[in-house]
């Protein structure tokens, strides 16, 4: 190689380095995503992780000149793990957001850290009312149980259901679901004829269902952890409660899209109130469902939508602050944010930092050989009544 060509080469490489320089100067925004990827809540974690990946594929990993990096950590839904992981992420990895949180205790465990470090905590799954009250840095993009349970209570009382037997799992979310439902259903003139709380680890529903059958209600209100819903519906049909004319109503958790087809025809006709159905008839949702199916080979459930909207909220907030990662500025940017989600129009309530969304009444029907929650009534812009009552 001649001297001349060596000089040219050197000059060329200097020029190349100069051209790349802005990329080196570009800072990184880090998001610590804490999800249950193993354990009984793993399907929640997987849905959210998928949705976050999908959104970043669709919208690129650069926002307002900053590169977005997601650090995924598995807490197996154990709050002690959540706390430790959040601490590591904030202190060692210097994350600008913590996000995810499959269950309420996990979201609560991270709350004091969010306050102390002034790091926004985006709750993408956990659903009890109190969560957003535990830190001014918490914003939620999933739902609260009160939203769907009060609505189904109102709906049932107004639609010819007089007597209801309730079957709920005996843990905090189950008791919440029961109380919110009861409150609105009895206020609307309905009567609870039987109230059964089943143990959280309950293999066989048969004795409880027999009790439901013998109390002859118009409908059974049910809330059990995702996964057990399928067992419940199968045994409900086995025992002939469907033939006895007893309907199943409840919040939509039990009829999540990723479980629905596994339940079989036993689930047909179940009426639930919920924020999302894969069958939601909007262009935004059709696009979302198609992209999700293509990428991961299954349909998205409501947890996936919580994650998809959560990462979108982070993107939008960064756009508004021009890439500034100051916690207070980010929270201010998130308050009142409004957009069209796959689930319909949603907004972050500027006062409570909780989500305001439509709640749909849906019925399980067969569409193209698959089971779907088909929406037939809409309650618009529902706030979390767990807070507005105060």
């Amino acid at each position: 190689m001649s001297i001349r060509s060596q000089i040219l080469l050197a000059a060329g490489s200097v020029a190349a380095m100069l051209a790349l320089a802005p990329a080196y100067a570009q800072e990184t925004v880090r998001i610590g995503l804490i999800l249950p990827m193993t354990g009984g809540q793993a399907s929640t974690g997987k849905q959210i992780d998928n949705a976050v990946k999908l959104y970043m594929q669709q919208n690129g990993d650069t926002v307002a000149g900053k590169k977005i990096e997601v650090i995924l950590k598995d807490d197996a839904a154990v709050p002690d793990n959540t706390k430790r992981l959040a601490q590591e992420l904030i202190v060692n990895d210097k994350v600008n957001f913590i996000a995810g949180f499959g269950v309420t205790p996990a979201a609560l465990a991270a709350a004091p850290l969010a306050t102390q470090a002034k790091v926004p905590e985006i709750v993408m799954a956990a659903g009890t009312s109190i969560i957003t009250e535990r830190s001014p840095y918490i914003v939620r993009t999933s739902f609260t149980l009160a939203q769907s349970c009060t609505i189904i209570g109102d709906w049932a009382a107004k639609n010819g259901i007089k007597k209801v037997a309730t079957l709920t799992s005996d843990y905090a979310p189950g008791n919440d679901a029961l109380n919110f439902f009861k409150q609105n259903f009895t206020a609307g003139g309905g009567e609870i004829v039987e109230e059964v709380k089943v143990p959280l680890q309950n293999p066989d529903f048969s004795p409880f269902l027999q009790r439901m059958k013998d109390s002859k209600p118009d409908a059974v209100f049910v809330f059990v952890p995702a996964g057990q819903g399928g067992s419940f519906m199968k045994q409900y049909a086995e025992r002939g409660l469907d033939k006895a004319g007893i309907k199943v109503i409840g919040p939509g958790d039990v009829m999540d899209d990723d479980l629905l087809n596994g339940m079989g025809d036993a689930a047909l006709g179940t009426v639930t109130a919920h924020l999302y159905s894969a069958a939601h008839p909007s262009a935004a949702n059709k696009e979302f469902v198609a992209a999700y199916k293509k990428a991961f080979g299954q349909r998205p459930g409501f947890m996936a939508v919580g994650g998809y909207d959560g990462i979108r909220l982070i993107y939008e907030a960064l756009k508004k602050t021009g890439g500034k990662t100051d916690g207070d500025a980010l929270i201010a940017a998130m308050k009142g944010a409004k957009w069209e989600s796959p689930r319909g129009p949603i907004m972050i309530d500027p006062e409570t930092r909780d989500i305001v969304q439509n709640i749909y009444i849906r019925k399980v029907e067969k569409v193209d050989g698959e089971l779907y929650n088909v929406e037939f009534a809409t309650f618009e812009a529902v706030k979390d009544s767990g807070k507005t009552k105060k």
Binding site: G40, K46, P203, S206, P207, F208, Q210, Q228, G230
Partner: protein, 289 residues
Amino acid sequence: MTTLFTILFDGVAYGMLLFVLACGLAVTLGLMNFVNLAHGAFAMTGGYICAVLVNNSGWPFFSALPLAFVTAALVGVALERTLYRHLYTRSHLDQVLFTIGLTFMSVAAVDYIMGSSRIFIKLPAALEGQFDFFGVGIGRYRLMIIVICGLLTVALQLILAKTRFGSRLRAAVDDPRAASGLGINVPQVFAFTFAFGCGLAGLGGALSAEILGLDPYFPLKFMIYFLIVVTVGGSSSITGPFLASLLLGIGDVAGKYYVPKMGPFVIYTIMIVILIWRPNGLFGRAAAR
């Protein structure tokens, strides 16, 4: 009155299911004196094999059941030959640590391969629903469980009490040294027994998917039930665990129906009362160990 019989029927079916799931453990724990906490993992293997065959490969349910048995038994014999046999002479603590580790590995492996969602086996239409028998609601699936498990129990009892293999096994358990001196191939007898116990667990897993649900946490979730059955029943025979399963099945179902507020405590109360009364279980060897 008819409700009482419906409850009784459900309880018997639940008890029978518990028995098939747990009797393999009664054999390894009671007869072979080996603490195999990974028993549920073999049950799960059977369940998933049955689910994959029926749901994905379109096998009929009834031909998938024997395969669930065979597969779990083969996995059992493979593990027995390679891993378990080294632990027969070790302390119970070593056995517990080893088998609980195996359980966690099986949970993680199944989670990785099959996903964590709960799986249901597509049943033939003939097994769905209930029919009315003099006002008593009889679930078709539960009736099938009672029939299959009833036959198995009788066969098992006959094998242990009447056959040459049964007497060899009992001899091998009671005094391995003397038994091998008499020309009984003790390791072979143990391997076969262990495989058979695993096969039974596999069959139980396949049968239980419909009622108990099937997911990767199955071995951990139901370990406690298997152990209760074996402790309450005592471990010297098959009759003990059988009666214990029935008692616990009926007790659990009736308790949940009549006193739902007590929930799961009925089954534990029964266990505690029985163990105070007979610390070695219903049919335990009095102070043998």
